[in-house]
Symmetry: C2
Subunit: 410 residues, 2 copies
């Protein structure tokens, strides 16, 4: 690794380098019902005109507008078309057909009058109209939404519930998507014990593996947990080689400057080209990114949970999107009004756990949460975002406008 790769690079540069090195995962065909959260590898067109027929937009009566140029007309009711049925007879002069919303308008008719605007005769054989009709009234013409062959979803779109609905309406029961990426998660450090252990002496619990597994699952990634690696070269090498078989490998701990931090050395031995090793983020400075020849992305994240989460959000999450053809998914900065205080930022952009809410008027507020710094894992318990303070930002106080990253749906 050259000297320059050891230097502190900006978050924006780090993101650019990661996105420049990400390779697309393979494409597969899958059932639409299994595709939630996956990303389209090809565009989807609608296979039919929509609507496929002239459609009634109201419950009421289909009729000829020429028969009802003024309120008061009386028409014979000759049929009833429910949604899903077609009329048996055409609508001739002086006739009307009872029709339900969504049903095809029978031939001959060119308007639909709402049931509320009609009055049945005593014998139920005819109706009187309370209003006049005009041609096209309450009818949606065939292909009015779109014509067969129109593209309705683009390549690179993530299939959320709305896109699933659109694909379903377009007849895309099978879709071509990028495969769900597979990431390995490896925690390093002799001090770590599993979360069901009570730490003794110098031990601490491994909260990073559960956290990273949860973050990755939330982002639609299949997770392979490699547990806790020992702080020795041989054991670590074995774990890392196994992890490099996946699309991505997240390693927490072992990337700072301590004498027992073997990770960078072992990565290089395993054929990982390290592209950077320090990022101008606070917390999150000792963050590493590398790739193998076959394209596995390796993220070395700090051992402190909140620091690891900053690295995850800034780098890993955008990489997961890019692996599936979704580019530009770096976390967006949003304006919010600060509740609390923030110190001035130094030579690193700072990220502070925050509770982001909307006030009565719909303006966002960001409450800085109590947090003792990167070693303290508890500051994020009620956080749904970060207050972001770019390099060199002045101190901020209550009421100032700051930038935030929102981690959850708000």
């Amino acid at each position: 690794m050259s000297e320059s790769k050891q230097s502190l690079i900006s978050v924006a540069n780090a993101q650019r380098i990661v996105l420049d090195h990400v390779q697309l995962v393979a494409v597969e065909s899958t059932d639409l019902m299994q595709a939630l959260g996956l990303t389209l590898a090809e565009e989807i067109s609608c296979d039919i005109d929509m609507p496929p027929f002239d459609k009634a937009m109201m419950d009421g009566f289909a009729l000829r507008s020429a028969d009802a140029t003024a309120p008061g007309a009386t028409l014979r009711v000759i049929d009833h078309v429910a949604a899903g049925s077609s009329a048996d007879v055409p609508v001739e002069a002086g006739a009307a057909v009872r029709i339900n919303t969504g049903a095809p308008v029978p031939s001959g008719a060119d308007a639909v009058i709402r049931i509320e605007d009609t009055q049945w005769s005593d014998d139920g054989g005819s109706i009187a109209l309370k209003v006049a009709a005009s041609a096209g009234k309450n009818i949606c013409d065939r292909a009015d939404y779109l014509a067969a062959g129109t593209v309705v979803l683009s390549k690179g779109m993530r299939l959320g519930p709305s896109q699933i609905a659109v694909a379903a309406a377009a007849g895309a029961s099978q879709v071509s998507v990028y495969k769900r990426p597979v990431f390995a998660v490896l925690a390093t450090g002799n001090e770590l014990v599993d979360i069901d252990q009570i730490p003794t002496g110098a031990q601490i619990r491994n909260s990073n593996t559960p956290m990273l597994a949860a973050l990755l699952s939330d982002d639609g990634v299949d997770v392979v947990s490699l547990g806790i690696a020992p702080d020795d070269v041989a054991g670590l090498t074995k774990c890392i080689q196994y992890g490099l078989e996946c699309d991505g490998l997240c390693i927490s701990g072992g990337v700072s400057m301590g004498a027992y931090d073997f990770v960078p050395e072992v990565l290089t031995k395993c054929g990982v080209e390290v592209h950077f090793h320090k990022m101008a983020a606070k917390p999150g400075k000792p963050t590493l990114f590398g790739t193998t020849e076959k394209g596995t992305c390796v993220f070395g994240l700090p051992g402190n949970p909140i620091s690891a989460m900053v690295g995850y959000w800034l780098l890993v999450r955008p990489a997961i999107a890019a692996m599936q053809g979704r580019t530009g998914e770096v976390p967006k900065m949003i304006e919010a009004r600060l509740i609390g205080n923030q110190k001035q930022a130094g030579d690193r952009a700072s990220y502070w756990p925050a509770s982001i809410e909307a006030d009565e008027g719909g303006r966002l507020t960001a409450s800085a949460l109590s947090w003792r710094g990167s070693g303290d894992p508890f500051g994020m318990g009620s956080a749904n975002g970060w207050i972001v303070r770019p390099t060199g930002s002045p101190a901020a106080t209550d009421g100032d406008v700051v930038q935030v990253i929102i981690l959850e749906r708000i």
Copy 2:
């Protein structure tokens, strides 16, 4: 159903009625690694002091501050403590111990000096300090983050990745959570065909079942798909009775005023008390809510996909949260600047598919998407939110501040 329940009620009232009738699902104990997205049924306290020992916050040397009141002091290096290890010997006057971030500070030492601020002697047996030390420097005292027994996560919190990390650090490898709710989804309408069919005549595809299944899955609900019910009382009754065994039942279609819309009648026969049947939302007016004696929530949603989605977001999603003890999770209204135009709202609050983005400065914009109205399923393909126009809102044009609901992480 009384006359008043047939009248148009406001969205806020509809939400209040739903939340007033929701019952909590059962509680179970689960492995923390399986609990992502579930909600805590009891608070979590940390079982140990955090940190559990006086901890080094930097890679460097632990020493007695009295030995280094000014820069230039020279100290013998007598040991090395890695994270996960404890020092074998106490730090006496004139001595220093090499220490890694996260390791316990050895007895006798009261300060840690960063490795960057020291200089090794040629023989490697001692260091010269470039800076002075003060008591407590770069040390985090035992229990400084919190003392054993402190509550770190409250009852009613959803376990996202951050909360999973906090629970892990606190030793909560098993957690008491509300069970994942189970919802049945039923589409009604003779006109419906499965999405892998090519509609003929008066048919249209059933896009609501895939959409509702996706929405429910996204919200952590287990989905039972009941397929398409026929538009006859006997068949519908059977489907609905089956669905009422679940915690919730979403029915799409069959709740408007068409002659073949049997749903309200069948629900009443099946023991469902209908609390309201029309909501002042556009789209989404023919939305129904009822409950059974044992507490199953029944949502009758409109047959048009975008209308059904509005009903889902305004009512079903808050109900799912409330079933798990998360109250107040009605969609939040956020300010954004309109791109495009909006007509004045009538006697119903209107919801228009929109693309919500952040501009360079972090201000939100809402672009109104092309949409032909409630029957058009394609307006939501690139929507990540709704522009919300409360009852009676005046027309809005480009640049006006409007309220939006954001459907995805932004």
